[in-house]
Every structure is written in structure tokens, then in C-alpha cells.
Symmetry: C2
Subunit: 418 residues, 2 copies
């Protein structure tokens, strides 16, 4: 074993392949005889000194980790503020790292995680503590700067396109006497990446989804309903994909319009698809169904994209190499050199260029009429959903996902009092 | 070609594998040199003389049909009433059959379809028209009598168990700082078959889904919320699977409680999961997410069960054999001879024993506390979700589903005026 340990933590919403990144990290580190600890529940585990020793996991368990969705060590939604505001927390973090001789800190997440990793690296420098901090990209939102795509997005995109293609066949078969309009709600509070991915399900203008609602375009109810009516008249049925983040021209989230309280004062949980379905029913009179896949879309390892999986493993492995090379405050990113054939490699980005930046969904990806994707979008998206990477299945007919032992590391510090 | 044609039609809600049954019918008939016509949109196509000639489809298209979800010829929700009430329609049906020299009528659907096929056979007999009517089983509801299971159910069951297992890993990873309760709404207005299938996702009492709500048990809100609270206290999070058909003790559907109108008078579309999520949020204060997979669960050919697919093809092939053997007014059914190893064969049931009967969800499948499944349920369900049967994927990363040409057959009769 080399001197020093590597600490890995997962942050933010998990994905179908974040554990594949973890498997990449652990197997690469093992090959280099580096000890890997993992923080439970992301940065909170690091603060609470709640760490697990990954060396207690078998090689088979780490291989299985690569095909297991969710976050094997736990993740968290917990944002550290600026170094000034949250200085005590950053200092505590450094104490924990020091106590466990952590020389390499790998934080696997989105914008916020890149920001945290960057700040930890600055504080370590200030304190003269030798630490290399690496951000490892992950998010189904696909909104990280610099990287061409984000591990986790391709699999959620594949799930979305496959599900919409399948449901559309159902709707088409039933439309003569039953449901005429079907609405699929895609994740993406700020950008239309996943809604756009649904566009891969069809090619021609009459293929489903005939209408996509992007958060980048203000939601115009009259225009939308007129379009639905036209599609039903022309095709006989209509599949709509709506991003959860669509807003009206005055900036209000449509999802919130569906909520409120019922006659008994109970909370009515809203949702875009549910709201739109109600409008279609009330104003057009069509029979309508809708779906809210919610977490299913980001945990569907059974239909993961092979490209996405390869990316996820590669950024994990590269993060270890970057760490050992002392490339402090960087993130391994996906660099695309060609759409057809799809060619990519791992590049490097300074965390300062990732933290608190956001990749904007390109206007050139939205069809002129506002309700579909362009060929440019297709050229970008298609390679990301390409390839299947099925998990093994057990005798029970279900994917054989692993539960790690997560053996705790003995604490060396007093409990943390936030 | 033998004398006479075979007419095939699909009815009711489609499934991931009903087209596999169609492929079984067509390929078996082709091998026996029997011409197969298909009715568009189920019995409506037969009434309207809206028929397609399946001999125009290539062998490759028919093979692809076996891995394509939805209903390739269109299905319908259209119930014929009694012979007395709807006599004119039955007579018209017989006219169409006679006009196209149909000697074998295969109707692929649930209870209602079996009933229709039975009545057509009776009328043909009355009119002295030589016709063999065969019901072909299909329904994700798994509620047909006599047959051990229904083609379509196993695949929806597999989708359900896989999705719940995956989403649970997501919830478990995030629970420390985010969602604590996740609610999955399963189809099944009348019986808990699909909700029960979700139970396959876990084994121990702390595995997800920790709570299943069956329509067979009255929904008791206080008891349910107390259970959710206990599970969260013990496990840290809770996954609930709720059948869309759950009712309160006075018989009202819980799904309807969530609906109504919002402050603007807009229709609020209800749903069980959305309603339960609201109650969990209001009364327990937990962060909650929910999913309504809706049609995704019955069209998910990408995660079809191999057992289910085998059943679907087998009933299609057997239906043709039954037809040619003149076994009028029967249905090929799945007969199980052993759970472990799972052994099954095709048997035969008189349509009279299937039509208007319903297979009841066994009380012995529900755990004593009312919120889970028993080992007996597991022994029944597990073989039905076993095995994978992936569709081929195209260069676009999506399943290569086929769209048939559906070449219309020239009409020989005047238009039907209902």
C-alpha cells in the first residue's frame, strides 16, 4: 500500500451509473494499491467522520457495484456555503481528512460538488495540508460545464426515449376507442435535456412524441392545446412529453398550478403532466392518460446506456489517475471528437470552470415550431443512448444488484457538533 | 392454401407481448398454409369490415412482431352486449366473416373477448355457418379464469418488481437528507396482482417495498400512516406500492379522493399515489416522491419476462391448432404442473368457463399484517417474471420495433350503420 488514503463520496441525486463510477474509482485504486475509504451520505459522512472501508468488499462486490443503481454509500443534498460563511465546516472536513491520512479527495456529483471540492482544496492549501481534490462528474440533468455530457444522463435519456416509444405503441393501438392523448413528464427543472431525449423515440413529424414542451420555451396554453387538437385530427392520437420545468410567460412553474388544496384542505401534489392532462380533458374533451416516472427514470439500470456506463467507469478511473498525478482542483470530463462515428476521450477541466457554471441547453436543439428537436439535437443525443449494458439477473427473475457491507471505519475524532 | 381464412383480432388494453401472440398465430397458420386476416381495432374492425391481409407482411416483419409491444392491428374497448340486445351487431359480424370466407375466428383478449367469441360461435351455430371460435388469453390484470396466468401479466409484473427494486436503491441513498417516502402506483383496479408482483423486489421485512396496499384490503389511513412512520423510524425510509384500486371501508376508491377541482375550477386528476403522497406529507411531514408509471408498465417490452413471452407465443400457436382441430368455443390456457422447477403446458378451457368469470386474488397471497406478500404468492409469481427476452436494438440505441404495413382487404359489403 502507498502512503495515504483516498476518500470518495457521492453527492446529489443518484443515477443508474454513479456506482459504476465508484467501481471505476475503487478498482483503479486497488490496482495501484491505494486504500479507498468512502463517506456515508456524501459530504455529511465526511463531516461526521462516518466513513466505510471499501477494502472489506470483495472483488466480486466491486464488479457488481458497476451494474447496481442508486448510491451504494449514500448520497446527500447538502450544500456547503462559501469558505467565509461555512468556514467551521470546511475546517472540520480537513480535520477528518487529516485524521484518516486522506491525501486524495474525490467528490462525485454536480455543480455544487465541484464547488465544494474546489473550496476544500483551497483551504488545504491555506493550511499547508497536502491534499489533491478531484471532482468527478455525475448528473442526469446534463448541465455541467466543460464536459460534453454527464455520466448518468445517457441512461436516463435512454430510459426516456425507450419508454416514450413503447407507450406510444400502446396509445396508437387503443386510440380508436380509448385514450387519445398521453402525457409523459420528464425530469429537468431547469433545462430540457431529458425532454429532448424523448424526441429520439420518433423520426417523422407524426411519430411520437409529436409535442415536446421545453422549459426553454414559455408555455402557451392556447397554442399547446391547439397543437394537441391538430395532432389528434391528423394522427388519431398524440403523445406529449413535458419537462417538469416548463413555465408560463410570466415565469411561474406550470407544475405548481396543478397543486394546492382539495375540498378537505388536503395537500394536492401538483405535477406538470397531471396539470396538462386536466387541461386537455377540460378543454378538448379527449380521453387522456399521463405518467410521472419520477425516480424510475434515474435509477433504471436495467436499461442503462452502454455509452453512459463506459463514461461513468472512465471518469472514475481517470479521477484516480488525476489524483495520483497531483492534478489538484480538476475534474475528468468527456471530450467528444466526432458524432459519426461517435468518438470520445477523457479530458481534464479546472474545477473553477465547472463549479457554479451551468451548461445551457442549446437553442439550436429546439425545432423552429418549438415543439420538437432538431437534427443537431439528434446527432448530439443519439450516441449517448447507444448500446445496452444489461445487469445480470438472478433466479428470481430480477437484476442481481449488490448491497455492500459498508464496514465502518473506527472514528478518531470527537463527534461533530454543527 | 387450405379453403377458408382465419380472422384474428386484438381486444382490450394491449400488453408488452400481445403481438407475440399475434406472431404465434400468423407463423403457425403460415406453416399450415392458412390465410390470416386481422381486424383493425378489434371487433370494431370486424364490424366495419376493416380488415388487413397479413400475408402481405414479410417473414422478418412477423418475427419482429414477436418483440414489438402495443397492438399491431389496433385494439379496442368495445363490449358487445347479450345476443338479444346486440343481435344486429352479431349478425353483421357473421356477415363479414361469411363475406371473407372466415372459418376460424380468434379473439385475443380478456373476459369480454371470451364472451364475444362464445356468442359469435353460438350465433354461427344457429345460422348453420361453419365457424370455429377460439378465445386467446391476454391481460396484464391476470384475472382470467381457468388459466394459471395470463399472457401480458408476467411482463408487467417484471417491470413492476424491477422498477420498485431500482427506485428503492435511489430512495435508500438519498434518505438521509431528502426523500424518505416513495409511493409507486400499480395498475389493478379490481385485484392486487401487479401490486403483489412488486413484493418480489424484496425479501426481508425491511426490504422495499415495505408496504403494499391491496384492493382486497380496506384502506385504513391511520393504520397506514402509522405503519409508514414505523418503517421510516426503523429503516430510515419507506417504499409503498399502492394498487390503483384500493378503497376505503365504505367502498369508495381512494384514487377519486385525490381528484376534484382546483381553485380555478380546473379538473384535478386524481390518482392513488398522488393522494397518499399528500397525506404522508401533511400528516407525517416527510419529504415524499411518487410515481405513476401508467402505460409504461404494460408496454415495457424492453424488460419483458421470457416466461411470459413463451406463454404468449404458445397460446397463439395453440389457438391455430385448436381452430383447425375444430375445438369450437375453447381457449388455450396455461396449465402449471410445478412451481419448482416451474413446469407448464398448454391446456384447453371451454369459453363458457372463462367468459364473465374472474380469477380472484387469493387471500393466502397477502401477509397476515395486510401489507405484504406471502411465500405462497412468491412461489406463484416468481416463475412468471423469470427470464429476459430483450428486443434487438438499432443504431439509434432504441428497440427496433416493427410497424406493419397493414394492407387493407377490399371491402365486399356495404358500410356498417350501427
Amino acid at each position: 500500500m502507498a502512503n495515504g488514503t483516498l476518500l470518495y463520496a457521492q453527492s446529489g441525486g443518484v443515477t443508474a451509473v454513479i456506482n459504476a463510477t465508484a467501481a471505476g474509482v475503487i478498482s483503479e485504486a486497488r490496482a495501484r494499491r491505494i486504500k479507498v475509504l468512502a463517506a456515508r451520505n456524501g459530504i455529511l459522512g465526511a463531516l461526521h467522520e462516518d466513513l466505510v472501508d471499501t477494502s472489506k468488499e470483495s472483488a466480486a462486490a466491486i464488479r457488481a457495484l458497476a451494474h447496481t443503481p442508486g448510491g451504494a454509500f449514500g448520497s446527500c443534498r447538502y450544500k456547503l456555503k462559501s469558505l467565509e460563511q461555512d468556514r467551521a465546516k470546511y475546517v472540520r472536513l480537513l480535520e477528518v481528512l487529516r485524521a484518516h491520512d486522506v491525501r486524495w479527495f474525490l467528490y462525485n456529483g454536480g455543480n455544487d460538488s465541484a464547488d465544494t471540492a474546489l473550496k476544500v482544496s483551497r483551504l488545504a492549501e491555506e493550511f499547508g495540508y497536502p491534499l489533491t481534490c478531484i471532482g468527478v462528474p455525475k448528473t442526469i440533468d446534463n448541465d455541467l460545464a466543460v464536459t460534453d455530457s454527464c455520466p448518468g444522463f445517457g441512461s436516463a435519456a435512454k430510459y426516456t426515449a425507450v419508454s416514450v416509444r413503447e407507450a406510444a405503441l400502446d396509445v396508437a393501438a387503443m386510440a380508436s376507442t380509448s385514450t387519445k392523448v398521453f402525457i409523459y413528464e420528464a425530469m429537468g427543472r431547469h433545462a430540457g435535456w431529458l425532454a429532448a431525449a424523448a424526441g429520439l423515440a420518433g423520426r417523422g413529424p407524426d411519430d411520437a412524441p409529436q409535442l415536446i414542451l421545453f422549459p426553454e420555451r414559455p408555455y402557451d396554453e392556447d397554442d399547446f392545446l391547439a397543437k394537441v387538437e391538430q395532432v389528434v385530427a391528423r394522427v388519431g392520437w398524440c403523445v406529449v412529453v413535458a419537462s417538469e420545468g416548463i413555465r408560463t410567460a410570466d415565469g411561474r412553474f406550470v407544475a405548481d398550478a396543478g397543486g394546492g388544496r382539495d375540498a378537505f384542505g388536503h395537500t394536492q401534489l401538483g405535477g406538470v403532466a397531471s396539470y396538462l392532462a386536466g387541461r386537455v380533458k377540460d378543454r378538448l374533451g379527449f380521453k387522456v392518460h399521463w405518467t410521472l416516472p419520477d425516480y424510475l427514470q434515474r435509477s433504471a439500470r436495467h436499461i442503462a446506456s452502454k455509452t453512459d456506463l463506459d463514461h461513468a467507469v472512465a471518469v472514475g478511473r481517470a479521477a484516480v489517475r488525476f489524483a495520483l498525478e497531483g492534478r489538484n482542483a480538476t475534474m475528468p470530463v468527456i471530450v467528444r471528437s466526432s458524432d459519426r462515428p461517435y468518438r470520445w476521450k477523457i479530458g481534464s477541466a479546472p474545477l473553477a470552470k465547472v463549479a457554479n457554471h451551468e451548461k445551457v441547453f442549446p437553442k439550436s436543439f429546439i425545432r423552429r415550431d418549438g415543439y420538437g428537436i432538431t437534427n443537431r439535437a439528434r446527432a448530439y443525443l443519439e450516441p449517448l443512448v447507444r448500446g445496452e449494458a444489461y445487469p445480470p439477473y438472478g433466479r428470481d427473475g430480477l437484476p442481481a444488484y449488490v448491497a455492500l457491507k459498508n464496514v465502518p471505519v473506527k472514528k478518531k475524532l470527537p463527534a461533530w457538533e454543527p
